[in-house]
């Protein structure tokens, strides 16, 4: 095993495992102590292994050292010991022999409890995502800052404020009951989806990191699905949605790191296994009365896995966007709906509808108008694309718009 890549991946996976288990035991009040002890464990690992080499069983080494450090901390810090005395007593053992349970089952139970704690609406959506990336997924502050195209201090403050709010609210870390699941699961799913979107749509150049974000979101969703009490149709629909999107991850960029538009993608590079998986989960999600926004978005994403342009494909996409917009408006959905309309009813009809949208600060609005005017009034199309170019801040989008203008000038 390559010692250099082993530690970072191991760090991320085991950091979140041990942090979850310890937090589950000690409560949100002690989250910083927990994080310090776990960070310390990895520091010891780095120091020890760089001299003695990677041990036979790195995971066991980390768990043994974490256990010792926790025991020592309890022994030495009387305030801490008093504070967690309930947890120790319920173990029925003397405090020096407090054991942390790092079995598979306790790790996944702890993770589920932590998901509900971290995705608590007492914090803003932005804060929940940052906290999720840090505590649930094990990403570092710098990595999160890179993905959000901001600096360390901003993320550091955001995460600390979020933890303070959880402590102020004395938010418990526990298995969610039926009531809590019913009330909070939609927000949990939304946070997971936003983590995925951060990876999928981020304009950061670090592709590996972004792919990791997507994989982490899928992993968190898997935890939700694997637990009977949280395995709802909406959770399955979200899973399907993420599988469909992720299936095109490799086809979206060429070797130079430039974005490739959907129409130009080589569909042999689409991951068929993920498409099959997504289709399976969309089918099993389509039971019962509930039609969540994830069902609709997954339905749309399903049709996008069929590359052929057909009336059936675009009629279905139009219907789904109509439905989605009625549940919740978003400028992206409005623009995409109008594009689908052009595919079903033609560009002239769609242009009229597009102009009603009046999204005059949105670069994608002008890209849509440019696209709709292409072939009808190319001079106007170029004007719209140039307007889009002035408004966009995304390098990838600039490339796309440039290509669209070049195509018209041929």
């Amino acid at each position: 095993m390559n010692g250099q890549t082993l530690l970072p991946n191991l760090f991320r996976t085991e950091y979140r495992n041990i942090v979850s288990v310890l937090s589950y035991s000690f409560g949100i009040k002690h989250i910083e102590v927990v994080e310090d002890i776990v960070s310390d464990t990895f520091l010891s690992a780095t120091e020890d292994w760089s001299v003695k080499g990677t041990p036979e069983n790195p995971r066991a080494w980390l768990y043994a050292v974490a256990r010792n450090k926790i025991k020592n901390y309890i022994r030495r810090d009387s305030l801490f010991k008093k504070s967690i005395s309930k947890e120790i007593m319920s173990n029925g053992e003397r405090s020096e022999e407090f054991e942390i349970d790092l079995s598979e089952k306790n790790i996944s139970d702890s993770q589920l409890a932590m998901i509900f704690t971290v995705c608590n609406p007492v914090n803003s959506s932005e804060a929940q995502i940052a906290l999720a990336l840090n505590i649930l997924c094990g990403f570092g502050i710098q990595e999160i800052a890179d993905a959000f195209l901001t600096n360390k201090e901003v993320i550091y403050k955001r995460i600390n404020r979020a933890k303070e709010k959880l402590k102020e609210g004395a938010v418990p870390i526990r298995q969610p009951g039926a009531d809590e699941i019913a009330k909070r699961l939609p927000n949990v799913l939304m946070t997971i989806y936003l983590v995925f979107s951060e990876g999928y749509y981020s304009t950061s150049q670090n592709t590996t990191l972004r792919k990791d974000f997507c994989q982490e979101a899928i992993r968190l969703n898997t935890l939700i699905i694997d637990n009977k009490s949280t395995d709802t149709p909406a959770a399955k629909a979200l899973f399907a949605l993420m599988c469909f999107h992720a299936s095109r991850f490799d086809a979206r960029e060429n070797d130079q790191g430039e974005t490739i538009l959907y129409e130009d993608q080589d569909d042999s590079r689409w991951n068929k296994e993920l498409i099959t998986k997504g289709t399976y989960f969309l089918n099993v999600a389509s039971v019962g009365e509930e039609v969540s926004r994830f069902h609709l978005e997954a339905g749309i994403a399903y049709w996008h896995t069929q590359k052929e342009d057909s009336l059936e494909k675009w009629s279905n996409i139009l219907d789904l966007y109509n439905h989605l917009l009625v549940i919740e408006y978003s400028p992206v959905a409005a623009l995409n709906r109008t594009y689908a309309l052009s595919k079903v009813h033609g560009k002239s009809v769609a242009v009229v509808e597009a102009e009603k949208l009046k999204l005059t600060e949105n670069p994608y609005y002008y890209s849509l108008l440019g696209n709709l005017h292409t072939g009808i009034d190319n001079a106007k199309a170029v004007q719209h694309f140039e307007r889009a170019m002035k408004l966009t801040t995304s390098p990838a989008n600039r490339v796309t718009i440039t290509r669209n203008i070049e195509r018209l000038r041929k």
């Binding site: 408006y329 409005a334 709906r337 109008t338």
Partner: protein, 117 residues
């Protein structure tokens, strides 16, 4: 921006009423497109409900009769709550209702905002 209610009136009683059941069926997709178009402009206040054709009417002296209110052959078929800048705009939106061409009538009323104290 104000809220406006669009009340779609149509004949739900006469034997040869138009829009006919067949026409109503054909209007389903156009209706969804019309509502989708309003939603795309962020002018839909809430998802429109659909209403059954059973109905009851209550009048003076505790008289209760069956069926939708049809004194003027124009019962209430459905309602859509939208946002618009003025009546002109609301009327433009209402023109998109796909069953008008078969005899339905859309009444538009503006919501009054509560006076601020």
């Amino acid at each position: 921006m104000n809220e406006y209610i669009l009340i779609i009136h149509r004949d739900m009683i006469s034997k040869d009423a138009t829009p006919s059941p067949q026409q109503m069926q054909e209007a389903i997709k156009p209706f969804q497109d019309w509502i989708g178009g309003i939603a795309a402009q962020n002018k839909l206040v809430s998802p429109p409900k659909r209403w059954d054709g059973v109905g009851k009417v209550v009048k003076q002296n505790n008289v209760v009769t069956d069926g939708p209110y049809a004194e003027i052959k124009e019962s209430v078929g459905g309602m859509v709550l939208i946002r618009a800048n003025d009546y002109e705009e609301a009327a433009e939106i209402a023109k998109g209702c796909p069953v008008i061409k078969w005899g339905a009538v859309v009444e538009i009323r503006m919501a009054l905002t509560a006076p601020t104290i």
